[in-house]
């Protein structure tokens, strides 16, 4: 069973739909017991960082996430919230990854919206996925490249497309919306 952490308004059913297509059962929940008893945990997110952090703290989900020992995958805002802090709403985050989240300079269109490839990819999530693969991104803030970065993408500047530290994984792109390549990555996560 996969637990998809519910912590905000917005569309998180798309992650569940992706797992349904892969034939894997999942629940969307903010119940601590249900999250802790799952085999794998997904931390999705579309929304504003400081608002999301307040919501996590109010429900005690911040500590639960930090102490999680199961394979854990953050997606998009989920990745950003796993960093030290974010310029979006100037907020302290979960401090799992040793990096900061900043706003894109407006040299190009922002948000970074659409399909982009990688500068490089590494690690278990990317088994069978090449740097030339395209994933779907939509974001106005980015995580700076750090020692936890396992894939980088280039838009205006190089940023963390994916990160990993111990059992914690995260992607800035949306694997659930990235066609076959995205499904491949989700399968890799399920096989960890």
């Amino acid at each position: 069973m996969i637990a998809i952490i519910k912590y905000n308004a917005g569309n998180i059913s798309s992650v569940q739909n992706a797992f349904n297509r892969l034939g894997v059962e999942s629940i969307i929940t903010d119940n601590h017991e249900e999250i802790l008893s799952a085999d794998r945990i997904i931390f999705p997110g579309v929304g504003e960082a400081s608002f999301a952090m307040r919501h996590l703290k109010a429900n005690g989900l911040d500590a639960l996430i930090q102490n999680c020992t199961k394979p854990f995958l953050g997606i998009c805002l989920g990745l950003q919230l796993m960093c030290e802090n974010s310029e979006e709403g100037d907020v302290e985050c979960l401090k799992i990854f040793n990096t900061k989240v900043k706003k894109f300079p407006k040299n190009e269109k922002v948000p970074h919206m659409g399909w982009n490839d990688f500068k490089n990819v590494d690690g278990l999530l990317f088994n069978g996925i090449e740097a030339t693969s395209n994933m779907y991104y939509v974001h106005s803030y980015f995580a700076e490249v750090c020692e936890n970065t396992v894939a980088t993408c280039d838009y205006i500047l190089p940023f963390s497309a994916a990160m990993q530290k111990d059992n914690f994984f995260a992607t800035q792109f949306h694997p659930e919306k990235s066609a076959e390549e995205g499904e491949r990555l989700l399968k890799n996560f399920l096989e960890l």
Binding site: G10, G114, E176
Partner: protein, 250 residues
């Protein structure tokens, strides 16, 4: 490198696609999900579903359809047509759409754009702008192109960006249906004026038209309907052609 997006648009009426399609493999051409799946396989980068009847009676049918699309389709999709309130947006997003497209309702009350952006994020809000070159200038039309407004297209584009839109879908009514190419001048002006992505729409008739709009404007996506539905321009062939012309596509 960020890729230029190719976006087929499906017109929906009572939960079915209207306008014919000539994909022989699709048994029921009216089924939007079958058509959408075909487009995904062919390499479409996103899909837009436009509810062209958009009556209250049809809302339930639309929501049911959106749920089914979300279950089946693994690329982003936008739903538009008759969205008048934040409640309409909620029901469509909660059913699984990634973005909503607003048009007349945003002209009537621009604060709706801000409301959607605040609640669901800017990335959820596509503002569709129907524009026509009238009396020497590009102006905005509402209500499916039936009503001329006082808004100048370039100014309205800036307003929607400032209000929190994540993207602009710009349709030139002069070009729509002509198959004579996209409106390069206004598409270029708008895409230069705003810092959010602009989707060019209206006028696609050949592969060259897609090349032209990507080479001559800062648009990041191009949308078309009939040339894809009727198989005049197969998406894989179009993408190959764009690649050969050094336009980055997936």
């Amino acid at each position: 490198m960020l890729k230029k997006r190719i976006i087929p648009c499906l017109d929906i009426q009572n939960g079915r696609t209207v306008k014919g399609v000539n994909f022989v493999e699709i048994k029921d051409a009216g089924d939007p999900i079958e058509l959408a799946k075909r487009y995904v396989i062919e390499g479409a980068d996103e899909l837009v579903f436009l509810d062209i009847t958009a009556t209250i009676e049809n809302r339930k049918t639309l929501i049911y359809l959106v749920k089914n699309i979300a279950a089946e389709i693994n690329i982003p999709f936008t739903v538009g047509g008759g969205i008048n309130s934040i409640e309409d947006v909620k029901s469509i997003i909660n059913a699984g759409a990634d973005k909503v497209s607003v048009n007349s309702s945003a002209i009537k009350k621009p604060e709706l754009i801000t409301q959607i952006a605040t609640e669901f994020g800017s990335q959820c809000v596509v503002v569709a702008i129907d524009t026509k070159f009238t009396d020497g200038e590009w102006v905005v039309y509402s209500h499916g192109g039936r009503t001329k407004t006082d808004l100048k297209t370039i100014n309205w584009s800036k307003t929607v960006e400032d209000s929190g839109a994540g993207e602009i879908l710009l349709t030139s009514m002069n070009n729509d249906g002509t198959k004579s190419g996209f409106a390069i001048d206004i598409t270029n002006d708008v895409s230069k004026k705003v810092n959010i992505p602009v989707i060019a729409s209206g006028g696609a008739g050949s592969q060259e038209h897609f090349k032209e709009v990507f080479q001559k404007t800062e648009t990041t996506a191009a949308l078309a309907a009939s040339v894809f539905h009727y198989g005049e321009i197969p998406i894989p062939k179009l993408k190959q052609y764009l690649k050969e012309n050094n336009i980055p596509v997936r």
